[in-house]
Symmetry: C2
Subunit: 179 residues, 2 copies
DNA sequence: TGCTCCATGTAACACGTTACATGATTGC
DNA sequence: GCAATCATGTAACGTGTTACATGGAGCA
Protein backbone atom coordinates (compact mmCIF):
# COMPACT_ATOMS: atom_id res chain seq x y z
CA UNK A 1 0.00 0.00 0.00
CA UNK A 2 2.57 2.57 -1.06
CA UNK A 3 0.98 4.23 -4.04
CA UNK A 4 -0.96 6.86 -2.06
CA UNK A 5 2.24 7.73 -0.23
CA UNK A 6 4.21 8.00 -3.43
CA UNK A 7 1.51 10.37 -4.71
CA UNK A 8 1.63 12.41 -1.50
CA UNK A 9 5.39 12.73 -1.84
CA UNK A 10 5.11 13.86 -5.42
CA UNK A 11 2.39 16.37 -4.52
CA UNK A 12 4.54 17.80 -1.74
CA UNK A 13 7.42 18.21 -4.14
CA UNK A 14 5.08 20.12 -6.44
CA UNK A 15 1.32 20.46 -6.17
CA UNK A 16 -0.32 20.00 -9.56
CA UNK A 17 -3.19 18.35 -11.41
CA UNK A 18 -3.77 14.61 -11.69
CA UNK A 19 -2.83 14.72 -15.33
CA UNK A 20 0.52 16.39 -14.75
CA UNK A 21 1.13 14.19 -11.78
CA UNK A 22 0.66 11.11 -13.92
CA UNK A 23 3.10 12.47 -16.47
CA UNK A 24 5.71 13.48 -13.93
CA UNK A 25 5.37 10.08 -12.29
CA UNK A 26 6.66 8.45 -15.45
CA UNK A 27 9.84 10.44 -15.17
CA UNK A 28 10.62 10.43 -11.50
CA UNK A 29 9.00 8.44 -8.72
CA UNK A 30 7.58 6.09 -11.31
CA UNK A 31 11.06 4.66 -11.87
CA UNK A 32 10.76 3.11 -8.42
CA UNK A 33 6.99 2.86 -8.12
CA UNK A 34 5.22 2.73 -11.48
CA UNK A 35 1.58 3.74 -11.79
CA UNK A 36 -0.86 4.36 -14.62
CA UNK A 37 -2.97 7.46 -14.83
CA UNK A 38 -6.06 5.48 -13.82
CA UNK A 39 -4.43 4.37 -10.62
CA UNK A 40 -3.42 7.93 -9.86
CA UNK A 41 -6.89 9.36 -10.44
CA UNK A 42 -8.33 6.64 -8.22
CA UNK A 43 -5.90 7.40 -5.41
CA UNK A 44 -6.46 11.14 -5.68
CA UNK A 45 -10.21 10.63 -5.31
CA UNK A 46 -9.69 8.35 -2.31
CA UNK A 47 -7.25 10.65 -0.61
CA UNK A 48 -9.51 13.63 -1.09
CA UNK A 49 -12.36 11.63 0.47
CA UNK A 50 -10.05 10.74 3.35
CA UNK A 51 -9.12 14.38 3.90
CA UNK A 52 -5.44 13.91 3.10
CA UNK A 53 -5.50 16.30 0.14
CA UNK A 54 -7.84 18.90 -1.29
CA UNK A 55 -8.58 20.00 -4.81
CA UNK A 56 -9.02 23.52 -6.07
CA UNK A 57 -9.41 25.26 -9.40
CA UNK A 58 -6.08 26.84 -10.32
CA UNK A 59 -6.00 30.50 -11.39
CA UNK A 60 -4.94 29.58 -14.92
CA UNK A 61 -7.73 27.06 -15.43
CA UNK A 62 -9.75 29.14 -17.88
CA UNK A 63 -12.55 27.01 -19.23
CA UNK A 64 -10.70 23.72 -18.85
CA UNK A 65 -11.63 21.03 -16.38
CA UNK A 66 -8.24 21.29 -14.75
CA UNK A 67 -8.10 20.61 -11.01
CA UNK A 68 -5.10 21.02 -8.76
CA UNK A 69 -4.43 19.13 -5.57
CA UNK A 70 -2.57 20.18 -2.46
CA UNK A 71 -1.59 18.15 0.58
CA UNK A 72 -3.39 18.87 3.84
CA UNK A 73 -1.96 18.51 7.34
CA UNK A 74 -3.58 15.08 7.71
CA UNK A 75 -1.84 13.92 4.55
CA UNK A 76 1.51 15.15 5.77
CA UNK A 77 1.02 13.36 9.09
CA UNK A 78 0.05 10.16 7.33
CA UNK A 79 3.09 10.31 5.07
CA UNK A 80 5.40 10.81 8.04
CA UNK A 81 3.74 7.90 9.84
CA UNK A 82 4.13 5.58 6.87
CA UNK A 83 7.71 6.63 6.22
CA UNK A 84 8.90 5.65 9.68
CA UNK A 85 6.85 2.44 9.73
CA UNK A 86 8.75 -0.80 9.16
CA UNK A 87 7.98 -2.58 5.90
CA UNK A 88 9.18 -5.65 4.10
CA UNK A 89 11.85 -5.02 1.48
CA UNK A 90 10.59 -5.11 -2.07
CA UNK A 91 10.39 -8.52 -3.62
CA UNK A 92 11.74 -9.22 -7.05
CA UNK A 93 9.48 -10.29 -9.86
CA UNK A 94 11.84 -11.04 -12.65
CA UNK A 95 10.21 -12.82 -15.56
CA UNK A 96 13.50 -13.17 -17.43
CA UNK A 97 14.98 -15.29 -14.67
CA UNK A 98 11.90 -17.50 -14.70
CA UNK A 99 12.28 -17.82 -18.46
CA UNK A 100 15.87 -18.79 -18.02
CA UNK A 101 14.91 -21.57 -15.65
CA UNK A 102 12.24 -22.68 -18.10
CA UNK A 103 14.90 -22.75 -20.80
CA UNK A 104 17.15 -24.87 -18.60
CA UNK A 105 14.43 -27.44 -17.99
CA UNK A 106 12.92 -27.42 -21.49
CA UNK A 107 16.06 -27.09 -23.56
CA UNK A 108 15.77 -25.97 -27.17
CA UNK A 109 14.27 -22.59 -26.43
CA UNK A 110 16.24 -19.78 -27.99
CA UNK A 111 16.37 -17.08 -25.36
CA UNK A 112 18.97 -14.95 -27.13
CA UNK A 113 16.61 -12.57 -28.95
CA UNK A 114 14.70 -11.89 -25.75
CA UNK A 115 17.96 -11.35 -23.88
CA UNK A 116 19.21 -8.93 -26.52
CA UNK A 117 16.00 -6.96 -26.23
CA UNK A 118 16.44 -6.69 -22.48
CA UNK A 119 20.04 -5.62 -22.80
CA UNK A 120 19.03 -2.91 -25.24
CA UNK A 121 16.28 -1.64 -22.94
CA UNK A 122 18.51 -1.56 -19.88
CA UNK A 123 21.25 0.14 -21.83
CA UNK A 124 18.82 2.82 -22.96
CA UNK A 125 17.54 3.33 -19.43
CA UNK A 126 21.06 3.60 -18.08
CA UNK A 127 21.89 6.21 -20.70
CA UNK A 128 18.86 8.23 -19.66
CA UNK A 129 19.82 8.10 -15.98
CA UNK A 130 23.32 9.21 -16.86
CA UNK A 131 21.95 12.11 -18.87
CA UNK A 132 19.82 13.20 -15.92
CA UNK A 133 22.83 12.88 -13.63
CA UNK A 134 25.00 15.00 -15.90
CA UNK A 135 22.34 17.70 -16.01
CA UNK A 136 21.19 17.79 -12.42
CA UNK A 137 24.38 16.86 -10.60
CA UNK A 138 27.38 18.35 -12.33
CA UNK A 139 30.65 17.55 -10.57
CA UNK A 140 31.58 20.07 -7.87
CA UNK A 141 34.26 20.34 -5.26
CA UNK A 142 31.80 20.93 -2.43
CA UNK A 143 29.47 18.36 -0.91
CA UNK A 144 25.80 18.78 -1.76
CA UNK A 145 23.17 19.88 0.76
CA UNK A 146 21.27 16.99 2.31
CA UNK A 147 18.14 17.05 0.13
CA UNK A 148 20.14 17.13 -3.08
CA UNK A 149 22.53 14.48 -1.82
CA UNK A 150 19.55 12.21 -1.19
CA UNK A 151 18.15 12.82 -4.64
CA UNK A 152 21.52 12.07 -6.16
CA UNK A 153 21.72 8.83 -4.18
CA UNK A 154 18.29 7.80 -5.44
CA UNK A 155 19.42 8.38 -8.99
CA UNK A 156 22.55 6.39 -8.32
CA UNK A 157 20.42 3.50 -7.15
CA UNK A 158 18.78 3.43 -10.55
CA UNK A 159 22.18 3.55 -12.21
CA UNK A 160 23.57 0.75 -10.06
CA UNK A 161 20.55 -1.35 -10.82
CA UNK A 162 20.81 -0.94 -14.57
CA UNK A 163 24.55 -1.56 -14.52
CA UNK A 164 23.96 -4.77 -12.62
CA UNK A 165 21.31 -5.95 -15.05
CA UNK A 166 23.59 -5.23 -17.99
CA UNK A 167 26.64 -6.94 -16.49
CA UNK A 168 24.60 -10.00 -15.63
CA UNK A 169 22.91 -10.07 -19.03
CA UNK A 170 26.29 -10.00 -20.74
CA UNK A 171 27.47 -12.94 -18.68
CA UNK A 172 24.33 -14.80 -19.65
CA UNK A 173 24.83 -13.93 -23.30
CA UNK A 174 28.32 -15.35 -23.21
CA UNK A 175 26.98 -18.53 -21.66
CA UNK A 176 24.14 -18.92 -24.16
CA UNK A 177 26.38 -18.22 -27.14
CA UNK A 178 29.23 -20.39 -25.92
CA UNK A 179 30.10 -23.60 -27.80
CA UNK B 1 0.97 -13.25 -16.20
CA UNK B 2 3.99 -15.31 -15.29
CA UNK B 3 2.88 -17.24 -12.25
CA UNK B 4 1.38 -20.16 -14.16
CA UNK B 5 4.59 -20.43 -16.14
CA UNK B 6 6.72 -20.32 -13.04
CA UNK B 7 4.60 -23.16 -11.66
CA UNK B 8 4.97 -25.13 -14.88
CA UNK B 9 8.72 -24.72 -14.72
CA UNK B 10 8.83 -25.90 -11.15
CA UNK B 11 6.61 -28.88 -11.94
CA UNK B 12 8.85 -29.86 -14.83
CA UNK B 13 11.86 -29.72 -12.57
CA UNK B 14 10.06 -32.06 -10.19
CA UNK B 15 6.42 -33.11 -10.33
CA UNK B 16 4.86 -32.99 -6.86
CA UNK B 17 1.82 -31.92 -4.88
CA UNK B 18 0.54 -28.39 -4.52
CA UNK B 19 1.63 -28.32 -0.92
CA UNK B 20 5.21 -29.29 -1.67
CA UNK B 21 5.26 -27.01 -4.63
CA UNK B 22 4.30 -24.08 -2.43
CA UNK B 23 7.05 -24.94 0.02
CA UNK B 24 9.69 -25.42 -2.66
CA UNK B 25 8.65 -22.15 -4.23
CA UNK B 26 9.73 -20.31 -1.12
CA UNK B 27 13.23 -21.64 -1.54
CA UNK B 28 13.83 -21.47 -5.26
CA UNK B 29 11.73 -19.84 -7.95
CA UNK B 30 10.01 -17.80 -5.28
CA UNK B 31 13.15 -15.72 -4.85
CA UNK B 32 12.42 -14.26 -8.26
CA UNK B 33 8.66 -14.74 -8.40
CA UNK B 34 7.05 -14.96 -4.98
CA UNK B 35 3.69 -16.66 -4.52
CA UNK B 36 1.55 -17.76 -1.60
CA UNK B 37 0.09 -21.23 -1.34
CA UNK B 38 -3.36 -19.89 -2.18
CA UNK B 39 -2.11 -18.44 -5.45
CA UNK B 40 -0.48 -21.73 -6.28
CA UNK B 41 -3.58 -23.81 -5.58
CA UNK B 42 -5.60 -21.41 -7.70
CA UNK B 43 -3.21 -21.66 -10.61
CA UNK B 44 -3.02 -25.45 -10.36
CA UNK B 45 -6.82 -25.67 -10.57
CA UNK B 46 -6.88 -23.32 -13.57
CA UNK B 47 -4.13 -25.10 -15.39
CA UNK B 48 -5.75 -28.46 -14.86
CA UNK B 49 -9.00 -27.04 -16.26
CA UNK B 50 -7.03 -25.71 -19.22
CA UNK B 51 -5.45 -29.10 -19.86
CA UNK B 52 -1.90 -27.93 -19.21
CA UNK B 53 -1.36 -30.30 -16.29
CA UNK B 54 -3.10 -33.31 -14.80
CA UNK B 55 -3.46 -34.56 -11.25
CA UNK B 56 -3.13 -38.10 -10.05
CA UNK B 57 -3.01 -39.92 -6.74
CA UNK B 58 0.60 -40.80 -6.00
CA UNK B 59 1.48 -44.40 -5.01
CA UNK B 60 2.49 -43.32 -1.50
CA UNK B 61 -0.72 -41.40 -0.86
CA UNK B 62 -2.20 -43.89 1.60
CA UNK B 63 -5.31 -42.37 3.09
CA UNK B 64 -4.17 -38.77 2.73
CA UNK B 65 -5.71 -36.25 0.38
CA UNK B 66 -2.41 -35.80 -1.36
CA UNK B 67 -2.58 -35.10 -5.09
CA UNK B 68 0.34 -34.90 -7.47
CA UNK B 69 0.49 -32.92 -10.66
CA UNK B 70 2.36 -33.57 -13.86
CA UNK B 71 2.81 -31.37 -16.90
CA UNK B 72 1.02 -32.42 -20.09
CA UNK B 73 2.19 -31.79 -23.63
CA UNK B 74 -0.06 -28.74 -23.91
CA UNK B 75 1.56 -27.26 -20.81
CA UNK B 76 5.02 -27.85 -22.18
CA UNK B 77 4.05 -26.17 -25.45
CA UNK B 78 2.58 -23.22 -23.63
CA UNK B 79 5.69 -22.79 -21.50
CA UNK B 80 7.92 -22.84 -24.57
CA UNK B 81 5.67 -20.30 -26.27
CA UNK B 82 5.73 -17.95 -23.31
CA UNK B 83 9.47 -18.29 -22.81
CA UNK B 84 10.30 -17.12 -26.31
CA UNK B 85 7.66 -14.36 -26.26
CA UNK B 86 8.96 -10.81 -25.75
CA UNK B 87 8.01 -9.21 -22.46
CA UNK B 88 8.69 -5.96 -20.68
CA UNK B 89 11.55 -6.08 -18.17
CA UNK B 90 10.42 -6.22 -14.58
CA UNK B 91 9.66 -2.93 -12.97
CA UNK B 92 10.99 -1.97 -9.61
CA UNK B 93 8.69 -1.35 -6.71
CA UNK B 94 10.98 -0.13 -4.03
CA UNK B 95 9.17 1.33 -1.05
CA UNK B 96 12.41 2.31 0.68
CA UNK B 97 13.33 4.64 -2.14
CA UNK B 98 9.90 6.24 -1.98
CA UNK B 99 10.36 6.65 1.77
CA UNK B 100 13.68 8.29 1.16
CA UNK B 101 12.10 10.82 -1.15
CA UNK B 102 9.38 11.41 1.40
CA UNK B 103 12.10 12.00 3.98
CA UNK B 104 13.80 14.50 1.69
CA UNK B 105 10.63 16.51 1.20
CA UNK B 106 9.29 16.21 4.75
CA UNK B 107 12.52 16.51 6.70
CA UNK B 108 12.66 15.38 10.30
CA UNK B 109 11.76 11.78 9.62
CA UNK B 110 14.30 9.39 11.09
CA UNK B 111 14.82 6.73 8.48
CA UNK B 112 17.84 5.14 10.12
CA UNK B 113 16.06 2.35 12.03
CA UNK B 114 14.17 1.30 8.92
CA UNK B 115 17.38 1.39 6.91
CA UNK B 116 19.19 -0.74 9.48
CA UNK B 117 16.39 -3.30 9.32
CA UNK B 118 16.71 -3.49 5.56
CA UNK B 119 20.47 -3.84 5.73
CA UNK B 120 20.10 -6.70 8.20
CA UNK B 121 17.54 -8.48 6.02
CA UNK B 122 19.61 -8.14 2.86
CA UNK B 123 22.71 -9.30 4.69
CA UNK B 124 20.88 -12.39 5.91
CA UNK B 125 19.58 -13.15 2.43
CA UNK B 126 23.01 -12.74 0.94
CA UNK B 127 24.44 -15.14 3.51
CA UNK B 128 21.81 -17.70 2.59
CA UNK B 129 22.56 -17.40 -1.13
CA UNK B 130 26.25 -17.85 -0.41
CA UNK B 131 25.53 -20.93 1.65
CA UNK B 132 23.54 -22.42 -1.22
CA UNK B 133 26.33 -21.54 -3.62
CA UNK B 134 28.95 -23.20 -1.45
CA UNK B 135 26.85 -26.35 -1.24
CA UNK B 136 25.59 -26.67 -4.79
CA UNK B 137 28.47 -25.16 -6.74
CA UNK B 138 31.77 -26.06 -5.14
CA UNK B 139 34.75 -24.66 -7.03
CA UNK B 140 36.00 -26.97 -9.77
CA UNK B 141 38.59 -26.75 -12.49
CA UNK B 142 36.18 -27.81 -15.23
CA UNK B 143 33.36 -25.71 -16.63
CA UNK B 144 29.86 -26.81 -15.64
CA UNK B 145 27.39 -28.40 -18.05
CA UNK B 146 24.93 -25.93 -19.52
CA UNK B 147 21.96 -26.57 -17.21
CA UNK B 148 24.07 -26.25 -14.09
CA UNK B 149 25.87 -23.20 -15.42
CA UNK B 150 22.48 -21.55 -15.92
CA UNK B 151 21.35 -22.40 -12.41
CA UNK B 152 24.56 -21.00 -11.03
CA UNK B 153 24.10 -17.81 -13.00
CA UNK B 154 20.59 -17.44 -11.59
CA UNK B 155 21.94 -17.79 -8.09
CA UNK B 156 24.61 -15.23 -8.88
CA UNK B 157 21.92 -12.81 -9.95
CA UNK B 158 20.43 -13.04 -6.48
CA UNK B 159 23.87 -12.51 -4.97
CA UNK B 160 24.61 -9.51 -7.15
CA UNK B 161 21.28 -8.00 -6.27
CA UNK B 162 21.77 -8.35 -2.53
CA UNK B 163 25.32 -7.03 -2.74
CA UNK B 164 24.04 -4.00 -4.61
CA UNK B 165 21.32 -3.34 -2.06
CA UNK B 166 23.82 -3.59 0.78
CA UNK B 167 26.41 -1.35 -0.85
CA UNK B 168 23.80 1.27 -1.61
CA UNK B 169 22.28 1.02 1.85
CA UNK B 170 25.68 1.61 3.42
CA UNK B 171 26.19 4.71 1.32
CA UNK B 172 22.80 5.94 2.43
CA UNK B 173 23.60 5.22 6.06
CA UNK B 174 26.76 7.28 5.81
CA UNK B 175 24.77 10.14 4.35
CA UNK B 176 22.02 9.99 6.96
CA UNK B 177 24.47 9.72 9.84
CA UNK B 178 26.81 12.37 8.49
CA UNK B 179 27.08 15.71 10.33
C1' DT C 1 -13.25 19.58 -41.00
C1' DG C 2 -10.46 16.42 -38.80
C1' DC C 3 -6.39 15.44 -35.95
C1' DT C 4 -3.70 15.54 -31.88
C1' DC C 5 -3.14 16.67 -27.23
C1' DC C 6 -5.19 18.08 -22.75
C1' DA C 7 -7.88 16.42 -18.84
C1' DT C 8 -10.81 13.52 -16.15
C1' DG C 9 -12.99 9.75 -15.43
C1' DT C 10 -16.11 4.67 -15.49
C1' DA C 11 -16.16 -0.27 -15.82
C1' DA C 12 -14.63 -4.85 -15.91
C1' DC C 13 -11.40 -7.94 -14.90
C1' DA C 14 -6.94 -10.24 -13.46
C1' DC C 15 -3.77 -10.82 -9.96
C1' DG C 16 -2.15 -10.67 -5.15
C1' DT C 17 -3.22 -10.72 -0.01
C1' DT C 18 -5.35 -12.07 4.19
C1' DA C 19 -8.31 -14.61 6.99
C1' DC C 20 -10.53 -18.60 7.78
C1' DA C 21 -12.24 -23.72 7.22
C1' DT C 22 -11.57 -28.64 7.23
C1' DG C 23 -9.87 -32.94 8.36
C1' DA C 24 -6.11 -36.41 8.56
C1' DT C 25 -1.44 -37.82 10.41
C1' DT C 26 2.55 -37.67 13.42
C1' DG C 27 4.86 -37.20 17.76
C1' DC C 28 4.82 -36.39 22.76
C1' DG D 1 -5.46 -36.67 24.66
C1' DC D 2 -3.32 -32.61 22.56
C1' DA D 3 -0.48 -29.92 19.61
C1' DA D 4 1.93 -29.37 15.49
C1' DT D 5 2.25 -30.30 10.83
C1' DC D 6 0.40 -32.08 6.46
C1' DA D 7 -2.75 -31.03 2.74
C1' DT D 8 -6.31 -28.76 0.22
C1' DG D 9 -9.23 -25.49 -0.30
C1' DT D 10 -13.25 -21.02 0.05
C1' DA D 11 -14.22 -16.23 0.54
C1' DA D 12 -13.54 -11.46 0.66
C1' DC D 13 -11.06 -7.78 -0.52
C1' DG D 14 -7.41 -4.61 -2.41
C1' DT D 15 -4.34 -3.38 -6.03
C1' DG D 16 -2.97 -3.27 -10.82
C1' DT D 17 -4.32 -3.61 -15.83
C1' DT D 18 -6.92 -2.77 -19.96
C1' DA D 19 -10.44 -0.90 -22.64
C1' DC D 20 -13.39 2.56 -23.34
C1' DA D 21 -16.03 7.27 -22.73
C1' DT D 22 -16.29 12.26 -22.77
C1' DG D 23 -15.47 16.73 -24.06
C1' DG D 24 -12.59 21.04 -24.75
C1' DA D 25 -8.41 23.45 -27.00
C1' DG D 26 -5.13 24.24 -30.59
C1' DC D 27 -3.79 23.75 -35.20
C1' DA D 28 -3.58 22.78 -40.29
Amino acid sequence: MSLPHAVLTSLLEKSTSGYDLARRFDKSIGYFWPATHQQIYRELARMEAAGWIESFVPPDAGKTRKKHYRVLAAGRTELARWTAEPAAPMDLRDALTVKLRADAVLGEVDLLPELQRHLALHTAQLAQYRRIEAEDFPPTAHPLPRTQAIQHLILQKGILYEEGEIAWGQALRTLLQGP
